[in-house]
């Protein structure tokens, strides 16, 4: 659905924030886009939406460059930005004035999401807290039902109960025909939601794998003595967490944070294992 080929991007008079990016995004997946702050997550998301233009390489949605900003493509892409301002109208008015441009918008779905989030649609947006505004935009983004939904740090500004509400809503809303990209540096918040992980570091994609493949090859937990040679990455000294080659072991629950740190340090080893093991 979305294809990125050898994409480079830099802001005027600055070094590249994205280098040689190759990515394919497909429907039916929730992608987690991870990276330290300032590693280009937001930039990549903006390039995908067509809000920034690649300096070289291409980013195509159904074979049309997103930088063209054709309505036919924009109808299928929605971005929930990290920082935003909504107009001084009621929640309902906000939805009506924008939803007409999205052919697949469902008012019913929007209403039920607001209910789930405990937001009164008759309230005017400036009277809402930032977290509530974010929930309005998230609800709207889900209800427009675009085939590509991008969310930049969606859990930033949400309190703990709201984060759980968010996960519930996302789990229930994903359609087989939809592709969702969630960028975050708060790995813990979202790790149960995603099924594919993309890690950006030093302006490049350093890992792009499905969680299924990762748990086939790697095992996460505390290693025993005989695992010593199989250790790929370890944290803390005695009894610390490790990533080891899975071999014949039972599948373990993936520790995204551990993987993230592991990939930043042992990028080549991990990628080699994932590609060849």
């Amino acid at each position: 659905m979305l294809h990125i080929r050898d994409l480079y991007f830099n802001y005027p008079n600055q070094v590249s924030v994205l280098k040689s990016i190759d990515l394919n995004l497909d429907t039916g997946n929730i992608y987690g886009l991870f990276g330290k702050n300032g590693e280009g997550k937001t930039t990549l998301i903006k390039v995908i939406t067509g809000l920034l233009y690649p300096k070289s390489g291409e980013c195509r949605f159904d074979n049309i460059p997103t930088s063209q900003r054709y309505p036919s493509v924009l109808q299928e892409v929605f971005l929930v930005p990290e920082d935003f301002e909504l107009p001084a109208v009621s929640v309902n008015t906000f939805a009506t004035m924008n939803s007409k441009f999205y052919p697949n918008f469902s008012q019913e779905h929007f209403d039920s999401l607001l209910k789930e989030f405990n937001i009164n649609p008759l309230k005017t947006i400036p009277t809402l807290s930032f977290g509530q505004k974010k929930k309005v935009l998230i609800a709207f983004g889900i209800a427009v039902n675009t085939s590509l939904l991008l969310m930049d740090e969606p859990t930033n500004g949400l309190d703990i109960p709201s984060k759980s509400q968010f996960r519930k809503v996302m789990a229930a809303s994903v359609d087989k025909g939809q592709c969702i990209v969630i960028s975050t540096h708060q790995v813990r918040d979202l790790h149960s939601l995603i099924n594919h992980v993309i890690i950006l570091d030093d302006a490049r994609v350093v890992l792009n794998q499905s969680l299924q493949r990762i748990s086939e090859v790697l095992w996460f937990g505390r290693a025993s003595g005989q695992d010593k040679n199989e250790i790929v990455h370890s944290e803390g000294a005695f009894g610390g967490k490790t990533i080891v080659k899975r071999g014949e072991k039972d599948e373990s629950e993936m520790d995204l944070e551990l993987l993230f740190n592991g990939v930043l340090q042992e990028r080549q080893t991990i990628n080699q294992l994932l590609e060849h093991a």
Binding site: T49, L74, F84, P87, F101
Partner: protein, 248 residues
């Protein structure tokens, strides 16, 4: 259906802008009405009448600045880094965006403010007639100079549209400054041109200021068309590319 132009979307987009700016619009129209009313009344205090030239003068005083402020308000969403993500990602093409903005800032604006001005002018005449026995002549509100003012507005509005999109902060001041520099540039250019072409014939007024007004008055029809075409449509084309090339 052409994928990048759909007239329904243009109307929807106009409706969206009006909804978004309804507060700004109603309060500025109220201010406009009050200003026109007060100016008209003051005008009648002196000479007990309101001629059409006087009324158009008052109208211009309100119409042009208000229109320019309105053009800027229309591009507020486009310029603010906190709102333009949502705005630019809306499934509307560049030509649709520009056309809807242009229709709102020119056609809709001109019609609305003209109707309001006429109504307010009429009320002012009535009040003036009662208070200080001014001549009540509703026909005085209509005049041919009204159309030339509308023409001037149509001609400078695209420049302000470009200004509203080009500058991020202090958009209004910078646009006026740029416009001032541009005018100055043209005057100097004309002066040089005039001097080059007519230098030998000794028709240049000796006084510096006089030469400026002399050149201003000597704007030929060809020149008027040249600049009219240059600024109006050309600036619209510039605005199109500004819109198309906008990144967040």
């Amino acid at each position: 259906m052409n994928q990048s132009f759909n007239i329904t979307r243009v109307f929807l987009f106009i409706k969206r802008d009006l909804l978004l700016l309804r507060g700004t619009i109603t309060s500025s129209l109220a201010v406009a009405a009050i200003l026109i009313f007060l100016f008209s009344i003051f005008n009648m205090i002196w000479d007990k009448q309101l001629t059409s030239e006087e009324f158009v003068g008052i109208f211009t005083l309100v119409f042009i600045p208000m229109g320019l402020l309105f053009s800027f308000a229309l591009f507020r969403e486009f310029s603010s880094p906190k709102t333009n993500h949502l705005y630019l990602a809306l499934p509307v093409s560049t030509s649709e965006r520009l056309l809807s903005k242009w229709i709102t800032a020119t056609l809709l604006y001109i019609v609305t403010i003209s109707i309001i001005a006429l109504a307010v002018g009429f009320i002012a005449l009535l009040v003036g007639g009662i208070l200080f026995g001014a001549n009540l002549d509703p026909l005085a509100l209509f005049s041919s100079s009204y159309w030339s003012i509308v023409g001037v507005y149509l001609f400078i509005q695209p420049i302000f549209m470009v200004g509203a999109m080009t500058f991020a902060k202090n958009r209004l001041v910078k646009t006026l400054l740029a416009l001032g520099l541009l005018t100055l540039g043209f005057i100097v250019f004309h002066l040089i041109l005039f001097g080059l072409l007519n230098g030998g014939f000794d028709v240049m007024p000796k006084n510096g200021m006089a030469s400026v007004s002399f050149i201003g008055a000597d704007f030929s029809t060809v020149g008027r068309w040249f600049y009219g075409l240059l600024f109006g449509p050309f600036m619209l084309v510039v605005a199109y590319f500004k819109m198309k090339e906008k990144e967040v």
